[in-house]
Amino acid sequence: MSDATTTYDLAPSTGAKFRQRTLPILIFAAILLAIPMVGPSRTMYTLMHQMGINIVFALSYNMILGKGGLLSFGHAVYFGLGGYLCMHALNWIEDGVGLWGSFPVFFLPIVGFVGGAAAAAIIGWPSCRRAGTTFAMISLGIAELVYAGSYMFDSLFGGEQGVSGDRMNGPEMFGLSLGPISDVYWFIAFWTVVGIALMYGFTRTPLGKLSEAQRDNSQRVQFIGYNPQTVRYFVFVFAGGFAGVAGGMAAVNYEIFTPINLSLAPSGFVLIMAYVGGITYFVGPIFGAILLTYMQSMMSDFTEAWLLYLGVLFIAIVMFAPRGIAGIVFGIWHGVTGPNPSAYLAKLMMQLGGILLMLLGLIVLVEVSVRWSNGYGHVYEPFGIHLGHTDVLTWIIVLVASVAGVALTRYANRPEEASQ
């Protein structure tokens, strides 16, 4: 009889917990501490600040998409409303309204959290009643409504010019005046680490676990005595709050917020960031945020068709790698440490070669088309090779590279039975 009560110790050991949970965050924080020592340029700082904001924003989005199973097309509403509240708070600090005069700008993201969470608490009540497609539709409608409405209340949203402020007011914290860009770096780095740690902590709470449970099987959640609607609502409020934290970081970094920050465009971008990074992993959105922010600011210098590449990347991820970049990275790791690493590596190399060939065909096609479309007579000349839209070489490269790429990937992905 005692067999039935045998307990198995399935819990990870303290060492494993530390390695898997605390250590990555400590390493990340150490990297952030080390970065200023190499003396980054102004552009690098700007890019890193943008990355920090997007990491927190994308992680907050993944609280509802990846962990909660709720697809939202209006997450920028909470980012924007939280950020707007921070902009007003920044102005109150400057004017010394009430107790605001003694509120340090450094802690503004807390105000953003309150603003985002309050907005989510109001808007989430009707929209969290249903999951799935309905939720997606409501979020879209609300995003449009808030965006259109924001142009009607100029005293709150500042119309087309938006609301601007000055971050160098109020009491200083940790000796940071937040004037020079290197001061702002510490602010962004601090809140990025705090945001990541808190959101990771959230996934360990009962509420975080329940949110995953209602995503997988909302009926069973009801059987064990929880209301999935309430679970969704609370998760949504927290996700809105963390989006507000990102909004507060953006408010201090940019010192301006316009209604564009609330529109569908940033909502779509955060969705792409989280999904491309990999929504089934906690770290996925971090990868996505870093990669896409980099693409956004760097690729737009190289090519004007970067949105097209972004669209292709997104569709490719949705179709062929639904677990995102994180899925690919962990997949490679498992393959290399797996039972037959050499066969795996050979397959991987072939896939990689195929993808690179397809990419080559795509890049040549797109770049040549863009120059033809502009009609300024520019010619695409990579490495000194003359590729005009009338040159035969151009079309040979496009066709041969694409066909060879498709063939190689198909060959690499052939069913196992056929290869033996």
């Binding site: 009707p126 539709m137 409501i138 100029d154 949105l307 972004l310 669209g311 569709i315 949705v318 088309s369």
Partner: protein, 310 residues
């Protein structure tokens, strides 16, 4: 009186246009359970195809050829894109169409340029049809009305009176049973997707020259079409029809009313000096569909004519 007549006419025409878009979307949704985010992109493609074909030949050829081409593009997208993603669930499908909308917009920008193209009303229809209260009503709008109504009647006949329509309706609710009876269900899905896209393309052909044909037209129209489908009740063509007319009329009447909140709610103590009082009804026009959407979802989640709650 003048305002009312014009708002009524324009509202009905705009509503019928919305219905051309939403009928395809709601058919696709009830069949495959996927909300096609790129639906308005096919509307945009229709307008651009018609512009190119009209440049080479004439408007009348474009009127028939452009929707067919858009339908073919739609069928290809279903066959090689959506069907592959289907295995990964509805969210993946929705995201696929979301990415597709991005992609189509960028491709349109490369092929036809970033600014609007000069897609014009054909000369044959460029005259005033009749004059009411001293203002003329363009004949092209009457033509739009005619095309939209013929499409409505055609769709109704196809779905309710033909054998093909019977099979489509059966495949909507019981795809497995239809498959057991020996019909090729994936082919039916592809056809319906193609027809839905072709209808959107037709809407683009007749609307592109009265509005503006530019790469932003899909984004402007897209969310409103979603509103129509949800307000009408997902999967219900009758509901989509009612909701299209309702939203068309609502928007056109709102634009025609030049009164502010202060004029209407003055008895509550609202004045022009207050910010809320300054809001003009006509500026509320673009917001109304979304307001309606949120209200419907809160108070009547199954939509006007929908059979099941969302």
């Amino acid at each position: 009186m003048e305002t009312i007549v014009f708002a009524l006419l324009n509202g009905v025409i705009y509503g019928l246009l919305l219905f051309m878009l939403s009928s395809g979307l709601t058919l696709i949704f009830s069949m495959m359970g996927v909300l096609n985010f790129a639906h308005a992109s096919f509307y945009m493609l229709g307008a651009y195809f018609a512009y190119t074909i009209m440049g080479a030949t004439s408007f009348w050829i474009a009127l028939f050829l452009a929707p067919v081409l858009v339908g073919l593009v739609g069928a290809v997208v279903e066959r090689y894109g959506l069907r592959r993603v289907h295995a990964n669930g509805h969210v993946a499908e929705l995201l696929f169409t979301f990415g597709l909308a991005y992609l189509i917009e960028e491709i349109v920008k490369i092929i036809w340029g970033k600014t609007s193209v000069d897609y014009r009303i054909p000369d044959l229809l460029n005259f005033p049809a009749f004059t009411v209260y001293g203002a003329s009503f363009p004949a092209y709008r009457m033509f739009m009305l005619f095309v939209a109504i013929s499409m409505l009647v055609g769709l109704w006949l196809l779905l309710k009176k033909t054998r093909a329509g019977l099979i489509i309706q059966a495949a909507l609710s019981h795809p497995n049973m239809v498959g057991h009876l020996g019909h090729n269900v994936p082919l039916i899905f592809m056809t319906v997707f193609g027809i839905g896209c072709a209808l959107a393309g037709l809407a683009g052909v007749i609307a592109g020259n009265i509005f503006v044909t530019d790469p932003a037209m899909a984004i402007q129209m897209g969310p409103i079409v979603f509103v129509v489908v949800v307000v009408g009740g997902i999967g219900s063509l009758e509901g989509a029809f009612l909701a299209s007319l309702l939203i068309g009329l609502l928007q056109n009447f709102a634009v025609g009313i030049n009164a502010s909140f202060a004029d209407i709610f003055g008895f509550l103590g609202l004045t022009e000096a207050m910010e809320v009082g300054q809001i003009n009804i006509s500026s509320l026009g673009p917001m109304l569909p979304f307001l309606l959407l949120v209200l419907i979802l809160i108070f009547r989640p199954r939509g006007l004519m929908g059979e099941k709650e969302l």
